[in-house]
Symmetry: D2
Amino acid sequence: MKEKIHSSFKQQGLMSHLEARITFIEEGIVKISCPYSNAITQQNGYFHAGVITSIVDVACGYAALSTMPAESDVLTVEFKVNFMRPTQTEEIIAVGRVVKSGKRIVVCEGEVIDADNKEVARMLATMIPISTTNVL
Amino acid sequence: MKEKIHSSFKQQGLMSHLEARITFIEEGIVKISCPYSNAITQQNGYFHAGVITSIVDVACGYAALSTMPAESDVLTVEFKVNFMRPTQTEEIIAVGRVVKSGKRIVVCEGEVIDADNKEVARMLATMIPISTTNVL
Amino acid sequence: MKEKIHSSFKQQGLMSHLEARITFIEEGIVKISCPYSNAITQQNGYFHAGVITSIVDVACGYAALSTMPAESDVLTVEFKVNFMRPTQTEEIIAVGRVVKSGKRIVVCEGEVIDADNKEVARMLATMIPISTTNVL
Amino acid sequence: MKEKIHSSFKQQGLMSHLEARITFIEEGIVKISCPYSNAITQQNGYFHAGVITSIVDVACGYAALSTMPAESDVLTVEFKVNFMRPTQTEEIIAVGRVVKSGKRIVVCEGEVIDADNKEVARMLATMIPISTTNVL
């Protein structure tokens, strides 16, 4: 399961461009870190809401995948994110956790903290298992 | 107002990295396009949910800003996005529209379509005016 | 299809309690109105956010159901609602519309207006078809 | 602060009609219970998503209010709720907790459990302090 997630993660062009990496995988929980760089800024030099969202979406998605049958891939149906404070620390860390893993729907919550351990954002997300990516 | 938005957009490292550009600005409505590239993919080669979210967040943010007093900057309080279908067309276009512009809260909706004019995602977002970015 | 929706609606104790009624059904769109009464107030005499949400959830749910196979029932997976202004007009009207009807997921948007035709709230919701209610 | 919340709660017609009551108040956390009755059902006899939402919205709102300056009232800007399982136990209990209390924005999360201690729903909400209810 860890290999499958690491292998899938490597294929994500966005994650590679953001220099993000997986730092923790266990059933139902995945952590991803993303360093500060020119690629991640919004207009005032803070981490972009889109970057914060991207890494916590991936953390939640793989947390969901870790609870699904082996042959599954995962698709984000929707998510909602609240942004608590701007940050420009040297890195941010996203934690994705499965709240409820059902056959059809997996609900996840995500949290993003900065290098000072302050909460930057919180996500509530809905994921589904798929066998191919065009079965919505 | 258009100059202010273009100038702010240029300072966004993420937007530059994604090769996104503003294609339309009017009071209460902003459009942003993003081409397909290695930087935007998820594990199956589709546009990443995080990229789709990033450009429609920016479109909604500047749509909100276009209705705020001249000295304001804009901050995303939260958003929710539904993803309707995976896409790997040559570009995606995000449209951000103001639904309700209040003194304290601006509500926006966003839509992302692909090059075949199919709806890829829909956003409902809450923005606030700020004078500096640390006044949450 | 209209009979099925009317019949289902009648079984909703909450809707009866709120004196809500269906005013329009077409494939992919349903409208529900709810009159002002003692049962619907929050602490300042305005329509309660929970009431506004209840009727637009039902409008979206039946709009979704109207696009599903005949033997389906519908379940709300999640929704998000923005509240635009407090209102205490003599009634509110919720409109639920299907944005994307897929085999596994139906995305809906809802709008609530008051008797002065002002927008009170907007919803973005995810519905799924079910055959029985315990198959999450 | 507790008196203010209890007194405000009593003025909510909806809460009275649902027979809901406050069972716990502390700074940043409020619990509300709601018994099963004819008033709370959806079409299959389960607790209505709108009822579940109503009580957890109120729990989050008062949790937010408990962290605001004494002269404030509270307004729900928006919320998102995921529904995890249908329930028809004898009561449901909503817990609202403040995640981040800022001067302009208060972020809350809510959880609803049933009488078997199973999680029924989860909310992520944005609240604002107001002095009167028409200052959006």
